[in-house]
């Protein structure tokens, strides 16, 4: 198992050296990237909207429940705590984990299907660097769009929290907004999350692509690769979250 792990790391590194080369045709690369942004990014907006609004609402309710017992704590602290939870962890990490499921399985299954149906061999025979042609646009699309999705998620999470707090009578909408603005530091609350989102975007794109690109066999193996892509991406996100949190906060 340990040997397999290190062999996998080696194969992944070799694949990445093939991916990060100059594209054969910039025009084709640009077109593929736009297509991937549509497929992997824009098509994920719906799930990110729903997830973020409800995540913000739940965090507000939970925080209010914990803090409401003590009359000495001002209610805007509910909003402050919600902001910290949403911007530091929930939006970057939880949304990325969900996207690892949606986008990661999509990447792995599409590349795996191309592998078993000899489409990747066809590219190689033509002289196309298939790894670069197929994987680089996906990684670039992820790197470009994931931070935008995370920014959107932060905003919607906070909005959802304020709305839920107001509707349930836990904290007034205006008071939530004031709480969100209190001691707001752009680096700590936004840049920190965006740095994480860029790292997660690379993990989702590259790890899932590796799982799909290296498939051998048929339909069953494509399914296994798709599952592996999600599991590996999620594990890598959690591990890198630990490292990044330590690096960025300390």
């Amino acid at each position: 198992m340990i040997t397999n792990f290190f062999e996998g790391i080696g194969a992944y590194s070799v694949l990445m050296t093939k991916v990060f080369r100059k594209p054969d045709r910039w025009k084709v690369f640009y077109r593929s990237t736009i297509k991937e942004i549509q497929l992997l990014g824009i098509d994920s907006i719906g799930i990110v909207v729903i997830l973020s609004v409800f995540m913000g609402a739940i965090v507000t309710i939970q925080t209010a429940f914990q803090l409401s017992d003590d009359p000495l704590i001002p209610t805007y602290y509910i909003a402050m705590a919600t902001r910290e939870s949403i911007t530091l962890e929930f939006s970057p990490t939880v949304v990325s984990l969900i996207l690892a499921g949606k986008v990661g399985s999509n990447i792995a299954s599409s590349l795996g299907t191309m592998r078993v149906s000899e489409q990747i061999d066809a590219l190689e025979v033509m002289g196309v660097n298939s790894a670069n042609f197929l994987i680089l646009p996906k990684i670039v699309a992820q790197l470009f769009f994931n931070p935008l999705l995370i920014l959107m998620s932060m905003f919607l999470g906070l909005w959802g929290g304020a709305m839920a707090g107001d509707m349930l009578g836990l904290i007034a909408f205006q008071e939530s907004i004031s709480g969100y603005q209190l001691e707001f530091i752009v680096f700590e609350n936004v840049i920190y999350g965006l740095i994480k989102s860029v790292v997660y975007a690379f993990i989702i794109g590259s790890v899932s692509a590796y799982s799909g690109y290296t498939v051998k066999g048929g339909a069953v193996e494509v399914g296994i690769a798709s599952t592996n892509a999600v599991v590996r991406s999620c594990l890598a996100i959690i591990l890198s979250n630990y490292v990044l949190t330590d690096l960025l906060l300390n």
Binding site: D24, R25, K27, V28, T113, M114, S117, E118, Q119, D121, A122, E124, V125, M126, G127, V128
Partner: protein
């Protein structure tokens, strides 16, 4: 012309190719036949450079494949057309986009020139009117024709076909065979076809080699194959009742 000299290839303990020598001539349809597991596909992929041989040389018109520079090797790839067993069409692209793809990647043609070229090859393989369809929307025979059109769009010097008739009805299979044969002569290509289909052998086999257990055991042409006294070839060719009848008639 493609010359193969003393090719050996193993995968671990499995010695698949055991010293194959053969010359594939330009302007001829060269067929590789043999039972499943005889090493045909590995042989084809080794000639293509998708597998690295352990011993021996592959020579494309005087240039040794393993000694080519990276740039030359990449250039050579653009001189090769390949027809895969399953078609290997890009399913996210339409028929016209599939055929246009190699042109966009490697040629310096203008948009208009590419359109003209796509139109020409589509007419050549009789695919008129299918340009905006996706591979999933067309029949197996049409997919093979699209694959041929894509393979010849860059005017290749070498054409490789892996089981071009698999999954096709006999009538469509003959159409595909004839198309391969016609374009081989028309564009003066070196064509190598990997097949199980004896009809193909008789229909288009300008040059036929029979492989068994990693060796080339027989070489000839389509008319000689029926008269061969090689026991392995006889067993392979005359296995079916139809060909047993043919043999009776010949004798």
């Amino acid at each position: 012309m493609i010359q193969v000299k003393g090719i050996h290839k193993s995968f671990g303990e499995n010695h698949v190719l055991k010293g194959v020598d053969v010359d594939f001539r330009r302007g001829e349809t060269n067929l590789i036949i043999g039972r499943s597991g005889s090493g045909k596909t590995v042989f084809l992929k080794t000639i293509l450079g998708l597998h690295q041989q352990d011993q021996g040389q592959i020579i494309y018109d005087g240039e040794v494949l393993s000694e080519m520079s990276k740039q030359r090797s990449k250039k050579l790839r653009q001189e090769i057309g390949m027809l895969f067993q399953g078609g290997a069409l890009f399913d996210s692209m339409t028929v016209a986009q599939n055929i246009r793809f190699p042109l966009e990647m490697f040629s310096d043609m203008t948009k208009h020139e590419m359109d003209e070229r796509v139109k020409f090859v589509m007419n050549r393989v009789r695919l008129e009117g299918a340009d905006s369809k996706f591979p999933s929307e067309i029949s197996g025979g049409m997919q093979k024709r699209v694959s041929i059109a894509r393979a010849i769009s860059m005017s290749p010097k070498y054409l490789f076909c892996d089981e071009p008739n698999s999954g096709l009805d006999p009538e469509t299979a003959i159409v595909i065979d004839q198309l391969i044969h016609e374009i081989t002569h028309e564009f003066d290509m070196t064509t190598i076809v990997n097949t199980h289909d004896m009809n193909s052998v008789l229909e288009i086999g300008d040059h036929v080699i029979f492989m068994k257990e990693g060796y080339k055991v027989w070489e000839g042409n389509s008319s000689e194959v029926l008269k061969s006294t090689n026991q392995d070839v006889e067993e392979y060719v005359f296995k079916s009742k139809l060909f047993q009848q043919v043999r009776k008639a010949l004798r």
